[in-house]
């Protein structure tokens, strides 16, 4: 963990907070009814993480990704994953071309992965081989073909989507790949009021254009601010304890974890929580991450990283439910007070 050079002052933080507010305002204006989701997606971008969007068709997953790319003025590409999609269709391939001198040589033709914002639509429809093609890109931000490593343009985000109900002909994401996603965000149905607004205000559902866009310099400024968001030691300790408690053998693992979890979250999850908590603090205009920031982002970070056993499936226990129980049961500060002594919420004098 890289410590910031100094605590941000309110004056230093104010421009970044203003930028964040503008981005979120744009998102909320263009896409109706998903404010919380917009914030989590933007936290993922601030954390330079990849996001897995899970929801039924027609809920606006693609629209969200497209709008984000539009607001951030990032290059956007979309891949529709199908069972016959090959790795070369994603990463790019070498093709034989004739040069001006009449010679023929293999020329690399970049795939759609060479972009800033990649929408991997219905990623679970591709074969594991094709899915695995994204492993290096997501972790290393580079593509290696025929011994040549080519860096991807920065920033690089993958926003993948998958359909949770059409399981026929799909291939579940391998654990190694799913662990590379910072968040797994669930798209719920919007309520009638939002639907009414969509029908009334959007002709054929067309999205309005963004009236403000962020430039690369401003995005870089946000990243610099993110780097200076301070993560206090007790909060870092809380993240470590939380991730450790997802393991069945963890010291503070609750009974449900011991019973239903086969494998807990990886260290990558702890890093992801720390980064996402910083992003959450930035969105809320604070120079440091607190316990509430961790709790706000822990659910989407952890819910796809717990590998549950068959007992959990029999008892209809979900990872989301386990993570919620864990957060509720784990003491934030680790303050070990005697059982008969309690510290309650502060009273305003």
């Amino acid at each position: 963990m890289t410590e910031p050079s100094a605590i941000l002052t309110p004056e230093e933080m104010e421009p970044a907070v203003g930028l964040v507010r503008k981005v979120l305002d744009q998102l909320d204006r263009i896409l109706l009814g998903r404010k919380e989701l917009h914030r989590l997606v933007f936290i993922g971008i601030l954390s330079k993480g990849h996001v897995l969007l899970e929801g039924l068709p027609g809920l606006g997953k693609t629209a969200l990704v497209r709008t984000v790319g539009q607001i951030l003025r990032l290059q956007f590409k979309r891949i529709q994953f199908t069972p016959d999609l090959m790795p070369g269709d994603v990463l790019g391939t070498h093709i034989l071309q004739e040069t001006g001198s009449g010679q023929r040589e293999l020329v690399f033709q970049p795939g759609p992965v060479f972009t800033n914002l990649l929408l991997a639509d219905e990623i679970n429809r591709a074969s594991p081989k094709t899915q695995s093609a994204l492993l290096e890109t997501m972790q290393e931000n580079s593509v290696t073909l025929l011994g040549t490593t080519r860096p991807l343009p920065q920033p690089f985000f993958v926003l993948a989507s998958q359909n949770p109900i059409e399981l026929e002909g799909t291939y579940p994401l391998p654990e190694a790949q799913i662990d590379r996603f910072l968040f797994r965000l669930l798209f719920d149905q919007v309520d009638a009021e939002v639907l009414d607004r969509i029908i009334s205000e959007r002709r054929r559902g067309e999205l309005p254009a963004a009236d403000w866009q962020m430039g690369p310099a401003e995005l870089e400024q946000l990243y610099r601010t993110m780097d200076r968001i301070y993560l206090p030691r007790p909060v870092a300790r809380y993240i470590a304890r939380l991730v450790s408690a997802t393991h069945p053998g963890g010291a503070e693992a609750i009974e449900a974890v011991t019973r239903y979890v086969s494998y807990g979250a990886s260290p990558r999850a702890a890093i992801a929580i720390a980064e996402a908590a910083r992003g959450h603090a930035l969105i809320h205009g604070r120079p440091s991450a607190g316990f509430e920031d961790v709790q706000a982002v822990a659910q989407p970070v952890l819910n796809h990283r717990l590998i549950l056993n068959y007992q959990a499936r029999f008892d209809r226990i979900s990872a989301t439910q386990l993570v919620r129980d864990l957060i509720g049961r784990l003491d934030e500060t680790g303050l070990k007070l005697p059982g008969d002594v309690r510290v309650g919420t502060a009273m305003k004098s």
Binding site: A6, I7, P234, S288, A289, E292, L335, D340, G344, K348
Partner: protein
């Protein structure tokens, strides 16, 4: 950081520390009370010492509580942890926690107002335990002795009583009131009682010891009464012997001296000094030739009598010292050993000894005068009359006399007094409680002014 937040954080840390220290002190004090209660119970069951130093143990709870508070102080949560807790409870979003890295004063207006976190201690358990432990100690201290004795299944403190009984047996053996074999048997029995005495069945031990004590006491009383009787006989013999000795020097007639010596011999023989528990030794040769006693023999006899009296006196003293005989018996024994002035008896023997029928009776009654001078047929005494001064009569409360003021007028009639059918019961005097038979035994009080009327009523014509 905001000054108010800093103050609030310090107050929170201080209050939490104080609460934890107080809680620790209460719990440790309760544990100490329980421990001390067990020590008190064990000490009392074991019979170790009085309760004073046990009460002092209660004061030990104070240093224990202080030590507990110190230990809790050393183990209290780290300041960083408490600061994090304060940050969380105040919703400061890590700003207060970030004080560990830098000055957050610039953010003071952007975080919630400081508020002191609420501390809650469910003290019912700890305070209840403290109260129970205090009651336990108090109960252990105030537990009746007999209950602790019951708890002591193997010990019964009878050592002092056994020693007293052993001393009694030893004295009785020394005075030859108890045979050696019997004394040895009693010693062994006492030792066995001491070893086998049990707190679970104390009655058995106490009954056995009471039996031994009663046996010793009975034997001693018997010896005391025998000593009293023999002392009286010796005293009478001494009186007569001394009088005869003095009278012989004053010219007592030979015939009178012979009769007196014969009576003396009879007295000594009748006393049967060699029988009973106390075997007194008088010279056999003197007893056999008592009729012809000369002055030297009389002196030897007198000396022997006095020696035996002295021995009996010492025996009575020892028995009284061990409280085997009461002070009354000892006093009677001492009184019986005192001889009156024998010069008067000697003078009487010289003057009118020839008329005396029984010298032994004379010796027995000599000096036995009283304030009432005795009955009419009582033997004469030749001592000075006893002084009435200082004599104390036994007080007796007499029943109240019937007073005229208490009388109730039932009516005045010229007819004979009407006797009711109810039984009349005499309330006072020797006939108290006796019932009259048909009214004949009851005497009516006749007032003086009615005497004439009564006399006329019963008048018989001649």
């Amino acid at each position: 950081m905001n000054d108010s937040h800093a103050r609030c954080l310090r107050a929170f840390v201080r209050r939490l520390s104080a609460l934890l220290m107080f809680r620790g002190a209460v719990r440790w004090a309760a544990a100490w009370f329980y421990l001390w209660g067990v020590v008190v119970l064990a000490a009392r069951v074991a019979g170790a010492g009085g309760a004073s130093w046990l009460v002092l143990g209660l004061l030990g709870s104070i240093p224990v509580a202080v030590i507990a508070a110190g230990v809790v102080w050393r183990r209290q949560p780290a300041f960083n942890t408490l600061r994090a807790e304060y940050d969380r409870l105040n919703g400061c979003g890590g700003v207060v926690m970030s004080e560990e890295w830098g000055d957050m004063a610039a953010w003071q207006s952007r975080i919630p107002m400081p508020a002191l976190p609420r501390l809650q201690w469910r003290s019912a358990g700890a305070m209840g335990s403290l109260g129970l432990s205090a009651l336990f100690v108090a109960g252990a201290l105030l537990l009746p002795e007999r209950l602790t004795m019951v708890a002591d299944g193997g010990r019964l403190e009878v050592g002092q009583l056994v020693e007293e009984l052993r001393a009694e047996v030893k004295i009785l053996e020394e005075e030859q009131l108890l045979e050696e074999e019997k004394a040895a048997e009693l010693e062994e029995q006492l030792e066995r009682l001491k070893e086998e005495s049990s707190g679970l069945d104390p009655n058995r031990t106490w009954e056995a010891l009471d039996h031994l004590q009663q046996a010793n006491s009975d034997l001693a009383r018997q010896a005391g009464e025998e000593a009293l009787a023999k002392m009286s006989a010796l005293t009478r013999s001494e009186v007569l012997t001394s009088a005869l000795q003095a009278a012989a020097e004053a010219g007592l007639g030979e015939e009178t001296a012979t009769r007196a010596a014969r009576d003396l011999a009879g007295m000594l023989e009748a006393a049967k000094f060699e029988e009973g528990l106390i075997d007194l030794e008088l010279p056999e040769d003197l007893l056999s030739e008592l009729e012809g006693l000369d002055q030297e023999s009389m002196a030897r006899l007198l000396k022997s009598i006095q020696f035996n009296k002295e021995r009996l006196g010492k025996l009575a003293g020892k028995l009284a010292q061990l409280k085997l005989i009461d002070a009354e018996l000892l006093a009677a024994c001492e009184k019986a050993g005192k001889c009156p002035n024998t010069e008067g008896l000697a003078a009487f023997l010289c003057e009118s000894g020839g008329d005396c029928d029984s010298f032994s009776a004379l010796a027995a009654s000599y000096g036995r005068g009283g304030i009432n001078r005795g009955r009419g047929d009582a033997p004469m005494a030749w001592t000075d009359p006893s002084a009435e001064e200082g004599a104390k009569f036994k007080e007796e409360i007499l029943p109240p006399a019937m007073r005229w003021s208490d009388a109730q007028l039932m009516g005045v009639s010229r007819a004979a007094p009407d006797q009711s059918g109810d039984d009349v019961v005499v309330e006072h005097g020797a006939l108290a409680g006796a019932r009259g038979a048909g009214g004949a035994a009851h005497s009516q009080t006749v007032l003086p002014r009615h005497q004439m009327a009564v006399r006329q009523f019963f008048a018989r014509e001649e």
